[in-house]
């Protein structure tokens, strides 16, 4: 809960290691590996699977009580070896947990020792890249874990110097549908790009004949290696915790110009993204996307009467909340509360920036849980909740429609295919949102209108 409470009730955030696992899952041939007790991996797998409805393997060093006393090094080494030999992992993304951080396991030196001890394994062509990130669950939310993992991927893998024509796109934690859209966009702008991480196939794959030990898809390691050569980096997310992001790291180490943008949700944030794409590519936006933008504005007009002044509560990851709030403000929905379990300390400033011009500014609260959000909802009496599926209990209690976006969506099918980004994503969100409002109005009316 917020500062008003000591305890937390129904958290509006997840723990740091799950974010790292999700990011590692977006690298080709990678196996996420948790250095900790067995429960963490199993819980997170279950949580992720219930959203994506896809296999999600997370290896674990399965520490027991004696390891807590003598250190978890031996289990970590054994685990890495097993994942290498049985899974054929090209990369193992090792994330720590609160347990191993607290007992003081020094993962980088354990890995170094392991390399020395297992020379034969690392001399072969199939030796895996070992990437490690520190993710004690008490040190931030899943978004810090996600961004830290992306940062170590760049820090530990992107080692090649030089220059090429490619661009880096760091989208943050978005859906597989979003990633597919971004890749299409890069291709439409004739840009050679690397999207990191890329969960478009690894967490939304086709039906298969054979079980894959490691699912297809993910950012190729060769492309991560050469990220330092790129012309530019586009990084989504203005609330990324701390000062050094993966994009800034590429800038400071390799001089790759970093464009830091908000998550392109809605018209204006997408416009900013498209203008950066135009600048970098030197091309005008392709006709297909200009048309999508035109249709979006057309539908703004078609739907404005249904939603104007409608009050919405938005919650979830900070960057998604900023993007959604910008979108709501531009279409005439009144955001009344913007809430997150995250605590980047940047939320307030960013919400203020995207709601400029609104007569009534929303309440902005970070570091909150659903108990706090519930108290606000009781006061604010919103018409709509927008966020992931864990807000459902509030939606049910107060009889308010819930528009499901982001992660997790555990009570509907297709969470992995929700498109949030760009003009196309805004169009999909708009149709969903307006129809939810119309549906409520239609159902609440005794008349049974057949035209709305």
């Amino acid at each position: 809960m917020s500062d008003d409470y000591t305890s937390t009730t129904n958290a509006c955030k997840l723990c740091k290691p799950i974010g790292a696992c999700l990011a590692f899952k977006g690298v080709e041939g990678a196996v996420p590996f948790l250095h900790g007790s067995q429960g963490c991996a199993t819980y997170m797998r279950r949580y992720i699977i219930s959203h994506f409805r896809e296999p999600m393997d997370i290896a674990s060093s399965s520490l027991g009580e004696k390891n807590a006393i003598f250190g978890g090094g031996a289990n970590l080494k054994q685990g890495i070896k097993n994942v290498t030999t049985k899974y054929g992992a090209k990369m193992i993304g090792i994330a720590t947990t609160c347990l191993t951080e607290t007992i003081g396991d020094d993962v980088p030196s354990i890995i170094k020792q392991f390399r020395d001890e297992e020379k034969a394994l690392f001399e072969s062509d199939n030796s895996p890249l070992l990437v490690n990130v520190s993710t004690p669950s008490y040190g931030g939310t899943h978004m810090e874990g996600f961004h830290d993992a992306v940062k170590v991927l760049v820090d530990q893998i992107a080692t090649e110097y030089g220059k090429d024509e490619s661009i880096n796109l760091l989208p943050g934690f978005v859906s597989p549908a979003d990633i597919r859209y971004l890749k299409e966009l890069l291709s439409d702008f004739n840009l050679e790009g690397v999207v990191l991480p890329d969960i478009s196939e690894s967490l939304d794959g086709p039906a298969l004949l054979d079980y894959q030990k490691i699912s297809e898809g993910g950012t190729p390691l060769s492309k991560i290696r050469s990220m330092g050569k790129a012309r530019a980096t586009i990084e989504f997310g203005r609330t990324i915790f701390g000062n050094l992001t993966a994009g800034k790291l590429l800038d400071s180490r390799f001089g790759v110009k970093n464009y830091s943008l908000g998550m392109p949700v809605g018209l204006r944030e997408s416009d900013e993204f498209f203008s950066v794409l135009e600048e970098i590519s030197g091309c005008k936006s392709p006709e297909k996307h200009v048309l999508e933008r035109g249709r979006l504005i057309d539908s703004f007009v078609d739907s404005h009467k249904y939603i104007f002044g409608c009050k919405a509560v938005v919650y979830g990851e900070e960057d998604l909340v900023v993007g959604l709030t910008s979108f709501l403000a531009e279409m005439g929905v009144q955001p009344v509360l913007c809430a997150s379990g995250g605590k980047s300390k940047k939320l307030n400033k960013e919400i203020t920036a995207v709601t400029k011009g609104l007569v009534d500014l929303p309440i902005v609260r970070d570091g909150v849980d659903f108990y706090d959000i519930g108290e606000e909802v009781a006061e604010l009496k919103p018409d709509l909740l927008i966020g992931h599926s864990k807000g459902y209990s509030l939606a049910k209690k107060y009889g308010i429609p819930l528009m499901r976006v982001g992660f997790p969506i555990h009570d509907r099918i297709g969470g992995q295919r929700v498109l949030h980004l760009g003009y196309r994503g805004a169009q999909a969100l708009l149709d969903d949102l307006v129809n939810l409002v119309i549906e409520k109005k239609q159902n609440d009316s005794p008349v049974g209108y057949s035209y709305m």
Partner: protein, 456 residues
């Protein structure tokens, strides 16, 4: 995918048995192998799922946020009254708490939540990190209990202490502290406690109704639709009826030792086991009238059920099923239930079975059946392919493996929303299996369009 790499870890070979190929011998209750992706959870998980359905208690997870957030509303355990169990409470430990200790925060959080919600008792779950930083849960709980005048019970469920089984034990120890603290006046000589049923989809209500029809009083539900006051007087019951092999057996043993209450093991899944459970209870009390009533009850229920089941059996005859569940006792019932539907069980395994459990499975399965302890996705997919399975029964973590390979799946775990216990439940089970296996979608999946998997 490289098919050349053997899919079974050498270290795990003894945890897999193929009936008929070698004399029965299986390793189990071992620690999960590092780096193998186990389907198992941890001690905390074991405790949490057992105690979770107690609906008028506060369940506070003392630890970082993850442990609480991943177990929020984790079971479809229904309550006929309060629903405090459906909220996820945590102390959300931060770095400074880890450095300076979390006792003060725990004390404050407990006080705050007890004032807010007025629970009948509080369970405080210990997590990995609490074990490491050495918070004295016992002392904090004692203090709050004295101040708030309700039982505040520490659950020693540090995740790293072992697997789910130790978690069951920690939960039973916590429950046992409540038992014996309530009045036992006016309890019928024909009375029992229901142990190891969690009231998924309202199942315990069905079972209670059967007992009522037999003239048996249920003192405490442990723990489905559970209430603190009932558990406190559970020692007044004359019999413990224990379902779900691992989870509440320890409590039954403790109650037998201390209060001399005997227990019987039952299963409410499938026709035979359900009927047997009722007969066992009636025979225990030895009341001829009750035995008559029970026979009557079973007869009435079967009269309705059998004609209905026949329709499904006709369609399902000869289809092949694989079972992988948490506790192996459930597996016994599933093997029998599937046989009722004319289906063949070709693989069966559990996360936490004992040697005796596996020996029993060996007894009741057909030759060639694979019996497996604590498996992982690689092995499961191998078994599914090898046996050409039509239906997989497991928990939510197995579902994507089955689905990815185009195999029908039924959830037989905490999250199911359909009651599968009792005679009514058997019919639901048949429907669920039928709806899964007979769906037209399987003819489009690669295994049925690109050749016969059994020959791949």
């Amino acid at each position: 995918m490289e098919t050349s790499t053997p899919v079974i870890f050498e270290e795990r070979e003894n945890q897999i048995h193929r009936k008929g190929e070698s004399p029965f011998n299986i390793d189990c209750n071992r620690d999960s192998l590092a780096g193998a992706i186990s389907q198992r959870a941890c001690v905390f998980c074991g405790s949490r799922v057992v105690l979770y359905p107690i609906a008028d208690a506060l369940h506070l997870v003392h630890g970082p946020i993850g442990c609480a957030v991943y177990t929020w509303d984790i079971r479809g355990a229904l309550s006929s009254g309060p629903e405090l169990h459906r909220l996820s409470f945590s102390t959300d430990l931060q770095e400074k708490d880890v450095i300076f200790g979390g006792e003060k925060k725990l004390y404050k959080a407990l006080n705050e939540l007890i004032d807010l919600h007025g629970p009948k008792a509080a369970f405080v779950y210990s997590t990995c990190i609490v074990g490491i930083i050495g918070d004295d849960l016992e002392a904090v709980c004692r203090k709050v209990s004295a101040e708030k005048k309700i039982p505040v019970i520490p659950v020693q469920s540090e995740g790293l202490k072992g697997n789910k089984r130790e978690g069951y034990n920690a939960a039973c120890k916590a429950l046992f502290r409540l038992v014996g603290t309530g009045e036992t006046d006016n309890i019928s000589p024909y009375s029992l406690n229901i142990l190891g049923d969690f009231n998924l989809a309202g199942e315990i209500w069905l079972i209670r109704d059967y007992f009522k029809r037999m003239g048996v009083e249920v003192v405490a539900n442990i723990t489905g639709d559970g209430r603190i006051a009932d558990i406190k007087r559970a020692h007044g019951a004359k019999l413990n009826v224990v379902q779900c092999s691992g989870s509440t057996m320890d409590l039954a043993n403790m109650m037998e030792e201390t209060y001399g209450i005997p227990h019987i093991r039952v299963s409410y899944f499938g026709v035979e086991d359900m009927a047997q459970a009722l007969y066992d209870v009636a025979n225990y009390f030895g009341d001829s009238q009750m035995i008559e009533k029970t026979k009557e009850l079973v007869k009435d229920e079967l009269k309705v059920l059998y004609p209905e089941l026949k329709k499904y059996k006709k369609a399902l005859e000869g289809k092949k099923a694989a079972i992988y569940v948490g506790g192996s006792f459930k597996a016994f019932s599933l093997v029998k239930a599937l046989r009722h539907l004319g289906m063949k069980v070709v693989m069966v395994g559990s996360q936490t079975g004992t040697k005796e459990d596996y020996a029993e499975l060996e007894q009741i399965t057909d030759p060639g059946t694979i019996i497996v302890d604590d498996t992982n996705p690689l092995e499961l997919s191998q078994f599914i392919k090898e046996k050409g399975v039509d239906l997989f029964i497991g928990g939510v973590k197995e579902r994507p493996i089955a689905y990815k390979l185009g195999v029908g799946f039924c959830d037989h775990n905490h999250e199911r929303k359909i009651g599968l216990e009792g005679f009514e439940g058997m019919l639901n089970f048949a429907k669920e299996v039928y709806n899964t296996v007979m769906s037209p979608v399987w003819r489009f999946v690669p295994r049925n369009t690109t050749g016969d998997v059994k020959n791949v």
